[in-house]
Symmetry: C2
Subunit: 343 residues, 2 copies
C-alpha cells in the first residue's frame, strides 16, 4: 500500500500506453468512448490519483496562489481570505496564506518564499508602501500576477480591488456632523497607503463641505491596534480643547480610544462620539456597540480571486490594469447615536 499508482500502471494493466491513459483521463481529446470508459474505470479501481507535482512541473503551474495579509486574526482579512478560497478552490487552486504582522522585512521574505514555492500568483494587502519596488519588479519579470486588495500601492500594470475609502470616510464624518459634533478628530494611519490617504481626504472634505474647520492637530497617524488607539486618544485628551468626536480609520484603534475616554470619566456618545472602520464583529458585540464602516470583505475576496483568474487566462497578452472599487456601507450604532432610536 505504499507506492502510488501512476498512469503507467494503468497502461500496463490495460496493454495501452501512458499517453492514451493520460488522454482518456483528461477527457477532451480524441479517444474512443470504449477505452475512455475502460481507463477511467480501472483508474478508480486501482485508486489512481494524479500527481499534481508532475503535472505542475510539466505545465509550469503549481495551482497554488499566495495571499499575504498584515494579520489574519482580524475578521476583515480572514473574511477576504475566505472569499478568495471559495472562489479559487473550485478552480483547483490552493491558497497559501502568509502574515506580515506589519513588518516590512517579513513582507519581503514572504514574497520571496512564495515565489520560491512557485505560486501562480500573489494576492496581497500591502503593509508598507516604501521602496519595495525591487521585489515587485522581480514579480513582474517572472510574470507572476500580482493583485492588491484593500491596501494597495500604485504600480503600473498591477490590478487592485478596494472599496471607496474616500466615500466611506466622507459618510462617516458627515454622520458625526449631523449628530451635532463640531470638533471631529481622525485617527489615521500610514498615508503612504492609499486607503488611509483616501480615508483622510474623505474626512477632510466632509469637514470642509460642512463648514467645519480642519485642524492638523486632530489628525494623528497610528497603526491599527488597540494600544495605538489608546496612545492617540491620550494625546488628544491632554490638549486644551478636546475633540467631541473621533473618526477612526480602524475599529481596533477606535476601541483603544473608547477605553481611554471611559477611563477619563467621559461619556460616549454624549461627550465624544465614535465611528470606526471595518465592521469587526466586536464592534457589534460590545455593550456599547461601535458605529463603523462595512467593507464587504467576502465579496472583496471573491472579486480579487476573479481578477486573478482573468489575468491568468489572459496569459501573455499585453498587461492591463483593472481597478474594482466596492461601495462601503456606514453602520450606525450606539457609539455615535446621540438621539437613540426608540426600542
Amino acid at each position: 500500500m505504499k507506492k502510488k499508482t501512476t498512469i503507467y500502471d494503468i497502461a500496463e494493466k490495460l496493454n495501452l500506453t501512458a499517453a492514451t491513459v493520460s488522454r482518456a483521463l483528461n477527457n477532451n481529446l480524441k479517444i474512443s468512448e470504449k477505452t475512455r470508459k475502460l481507463v477511467q474505470d480501472t483508474a478508480i479501481e486501482m485508486n489512481y490519483e494524479i500527481n499534481t507535482l508532475a503535472k505542475a512541473l510539466k505545465s509550469g503551474k503549481s495551482f497554488n496562489v499566495g495571499v499575504i495579509v498584515p494579520r489574519m486574526d482580524s475578521n476583515f482579512f480572514a473574511s477576504v481570505i475566505r472569499g478568495i478560497e471559495e472562489e479559487l478552490h473550485s478552480k483547483g487552486y490552493h491558497v497559501i496564506v502568509c502574515q506580515t504582522h506589519d513588518e516590512e522585512k517579513l513582507e519581503i521574505e514572504n514574497i520571496n518564499s512564495l515565489l520560491n514555492a512557485q505560486v501562480d500568483g500573489i494576492l496581497m494587502s500591502i503593509t508598507n508602501a516604501k521602496s519595495k519596488d525591487k521585489v515587485f519588479d522581480s514579480l513582474a519579470k517572472k510574470n507572476v500576477p500580482l493583485i492588491f486588495f484593500d491596501r494597495r500601492k500604485q504600480i503600473p500594470g498591477v490590478s487592485s480591488v478596494t472599496i471607496d475609502d474616500f466615500n466611506g470616510a466622507y459618510e462617516a464624518t458627515k454622520h458625526l456632523i449631523n449628530q451635532g459634533c463640531k470638533c471631529i478628530a481622525h485617527i489615521s494611519n500610514d498615508r503612504e497607503l492609499e486607503i488611509f490617504k483616501n480615508r483622510f481626504l474623505g474626512y477632510k472634505q466632509a469637514l470642509i463641505d460642512h463648514g467645519l474647520e480642519f485642524n492638523e492637530n486632530f489628525v494623528i497617524e497610528s497603526r491599527s491596534r488597540v494600544e495605538e488607539g489608546r496612545r492617540t486618544m491620550k494625546q488628544w485628551l491632554a490638549m486644551e480643547t478636546r475633540p467631541d468626536a473621533i473618526f477612526s480609520s480602524s475599529d481596533f484603534s477606535a476601541l483603544g480610544a473608547i477605553q481611554v475616554i471611559r477611563e477619563h470619566g467621559l461619556k460616549i456618545p454624549e461627550d465624544i462620539s465614535i465611528v470606526g472602520f471595518s465592521n469587526e464583529p466586536f464592534t457589534r458585540f460590545m455593550e456599547l456597540s461601535i458605529s463603523t464602516v462595512d467593507q464587504s470583505p467576502i465579496e472583496m475576496g471573491k472579486i480579487t480571486a476573479q481578477v486573478f483568474l482573468e489575468e491568468v487566462s489572459n496569459g501573455d497578452k499585453i498587461k492591463s490594469e483593472k481597478h474594482v472599487v466596492l461601495t462601503p456601507e456606514l453602520i450606525i450604532r450606539k457609539s455615535s447615536l446621540k438621539t437613540p432610536i426608540s426600542k
Copy 2:
C-alpha cells in the same frame, strides 16, 4: 527575461554537466572548492533560482504542509498558525491554511484537496469527530503524517498537541466556587471531541470535590459562537432557579451569555459570574473584562510543527504516537471577581 535559468544553462556556460552544477549548488557533496565557487557565482550572476516543482517531483516532497482549522478569525487559531509558520518557514516549508467553518463536509474536502496538492503533512484541529475514519485511513495509507492540535481525536498512531483541558476547567470552576458561587452552569460543546469532554469533566470534578451538586440541566452543548451562547443563556434564565455562575468552554459563547444576562438586567459578577476559555483579545478589551483560560497558542503551534518535523525525519520507521500536553493558565478578570482588588 522570460525563460528561467536552469542548471543546464549554468552547466553549458561553464562547460560542466548538470550533475556537477547540482552538486555544487547543494554544497555537501564531493566537489572541488574551485568549481563550487565558480558555479555558485555564475548561478547568482545568471539569476538562477531552483525550480521547487522539479525538486518536489524528484524527491516526492512538496515542502508544503496543510493546516486545517475550524476558522482563522479567532485569535487562538490565528496564533497557533503563526507559531506553526514561524517554526516551519525556516525549514523551507510552506503552510497552506484551510478553514472548515465547523462543517464536516468542508473538512473532508479540505483534507482531500490538500492531499491532492501533495502536502507533506497535515496539522489539524478537528471539527467533528464522527465517522471520518475513511479519510484518516487514506492519510495513513499514503503515509502523510497527521498531527492534531487542540481539537483532537483518538486515532492509533496519530500524535497530538493539546493543553490540559481538564485542569484548566477544574481551576476555572474552583475559582468560581472560591468566589462563593453555588450553582455553576457550564456551556459545553460537542463532547465527542476530547477537549470539550475534558473541560466538562474538569468542571464536574471541581463541583464534586467541593461538595456542590452536579446538575445535568446546567450543562448545555453549543458551538463556539456568540449567538449560541445567547441561546444557551436564555434557556437557563427561563428556568425557575437560575445559575449564579457560568463556566463556558468558549470565550465567544461566554460573550453571548454576558449579553443576555445584561439584557435581563442582571449584574456581572454580582448576580452571575463568568469565566470563558481561550483568552481571546476581546476578553481583555471589554469594559467588563472577561475571566478566561489562556492556552498559549503560539507555543502550541510551534510544538505541533516540531512534532511534525520529528515524524518527517523519522521517515518510515515504526510509527509512534507522541502526545504533548501544555499547561493552561487561569486569568482572572472583572467578570468573575466579586471582591475587586484595590486599584
